[in-house]
Amino acid sequence: MEFVGNHDPFPDLRVKIGALELQNPVLTASGTFGYAREFVDLVNLHRLGGVVVKGISLFPRMGNPPPRIVETACGMLNAIGLENVGVDRFIELKMPYLRGIDTQIIVNILGDSLEEYRHITEKLSQVPGIAAIEVNISCPNVKKGGVAFGSDPDMAAAVTRVVRDNTSLPVIVKLSPNVTDISLIAMAVEQAGADAVSLINTLIGMAIDLRTKRPCLANVIGGLSGPAIKPVALRMVYLVARSVSIPVIGIGGIESAEDALEFMLAGATAVQVGTASFINPRASEEVVEGIGDYVIREKLQSVRDIIGALESD
């Protein structure tokens, strides 16, 4: 029997991404939350559904020369160049802390060849405390002339298969929006054994400084993120959720519970908070709180009731 009387309601926010169980649908997006420790003074890390850490490669990467970021209308462009400490130092230096957080730790991985993806997957699969792997397929395939793995369905499937075959962890593939038909890529990675897809990664863009007549970024082009990309992301999540039967994780300009719930209506099972954490370090925790309030206010049995519940005529 339910409690009688006036007790604080305790909203059911649990969701499942394949075998991965989350206490709530809010994750932090890779590259926007460091290795979580940076935020410990400001965020109750234990309240998050999960933390997706900064993309890790087989070897350390220095990243691109500065300037690496530039603000644009309602957004920002970045060309960090995947700066990271490499998988060995990540395991040694970052995992001990991450393991102590009462949330799911998802490691984002990247590589320039299938071999690199295989090596890094093998290494991470030995490490206790990792809940899932998110595969960044936006990197250029060095062997195939630099074409991004994520822009070709066959190559995207090949990367997915390599990771799938070398781990028993849930595999999430993070999709690039810089393609003609994102559903095709989503279906290809589903076929290849992905447990879920997350989308969207940043949209390729450019900014120019008229005064200096130069590109604002040393890398010339960069990835656009922030509220500016939310409508694009929402549409792609909507399309992909209708094309695949695996769970979809929505990403793109989410800074509030309202934003997150819109993505869930469009078909996302969970969401990632990205650039918003730069402006408001507490953004991810506030999204968790706001979703809880919504579930109570709307008297939902659970947050799961809203997944894909978009109404249309």
Binding site: G31, T32, F33, G34, E38, F39, D41, L42, K54, M62, G63, P65, P66, P67, R68, I69, V70, E71, A73, C74, G75, M76, N78, I80, E83, G226, P227, T275, S277, F278, I279, N280, P281, R282
Partner: protein
């Protein structure tokens, strides 16, 4: 190092020149925790555009939980902040970064140029708190014109430290650059020079310090999104061709640690 996010009330708004503004903010925890050379990230308004916070070095703090920032209007963010009114609140996040390191046993020389003077007030205050004797210490304040420097000068006159001023047009103090003043001083060997200002100025101060075999700490500036080591957007070259992050490795560096070709 603890960090806080506060809604800070603007206690005082001062338009120091056509372009230069000083804000006094009520920020209980940040003011308590801040150290000279650290910075805060301030959101200019509440809308999605401009999106990112802006970094500001801490000009000074008070024991009653107040903090000042001093800035020049250079773009949309600072432009919005320059239209704030007393009584309004701003979202402030900090204190951030590594500040100046102070050795009470050594003589010091503070060299500020333009808005780079901002963090040196906080530093001078702390130096006077920790040092017995500041007789041989020196503050050099440089700027383009008298108008730029004069409103800041009186604050520095509270200290028992000698002040020299220098302007590009000679309208206040010596006519020339801060390095022209530094050349006239004989810096003791164990002196620490602290400098903040435009990069070319800091580089010439650093070069002079190297010639005279004197330690130099610089406070550098960079565009940044988060201010706390998450976005990795604020990189600069370090001595061994590696990158360091201004927000978390700095903003204060020993000049020999930076990849400056002096």
């Amino acid at each position: 190092m603890s960090q806080y996010q506060e809604n800070a009330t603007i206690i005082r708004f001062e338009q120091l020149t056509d372009t230069n503004v000083r804000l006094t903010l009520q920020t209980e925890e940040i003011a308590q925790a801040a150290k000279p050379g650290q910075f805060v990230m301030i959101r200019a308004g509440k809308s999605k555009d401009p999106l990112l916070r802006r970094p500001f070095s801490i000009h000074q703090t008070s024991s009653n939980g107040r903090m000042q920032v001093l800035f020049k209007v250079t773009g949309r963010g600072t432009g919005l902040l320059a239209h704030c009114k007393e009584g309004e609140t701003l979202s402030v996040f900090g204190p951030l970064g590594r500040g100046f390191s102070i050795d009470p046993a050594r003589p010091v020389c503070l060299v500020g140029g333009g808005m780079g003077i901002a963090p040196l007030l906080f530093l001078a205050k702390r130096i006077c708190q920790v040092k017995q004797n500041t007789e041989t210490d020196m503050i050099v304040l440089g700027g383009r014109t008298r108008k730029e420097i004069e409103p800041l000068l009186s604050d520095f006159q509270f200290f028992d430290i000698g002040i020299m001023t220098v302007t590009d047009d000679g309208s206040l103090g010596m006519h020339g650059m801060v390095t022209d003043v530094l050349k006239t001083l004989s810096l003791p060997n164990n002196c620490i020079v602290y400098t903040c200002g435009p990069e070319p100025m800091m580089k010439s101060v650093a070069a002079l310090c190297r010639e005279q075999k004197v330690d130099c700490q610089v406070s550098v500036e960079s565009v940044m999104a988060c201010g706390m080591g998450a976005c990795l957007g604020c990189t600069i070259k370090a001595k061994d061709d590696r990158y360091v992050h201004v927000c978390s490795d700095g903003p204060v560096f020993k000049t020999e640690d930076l990849g400056w070709n002096l």
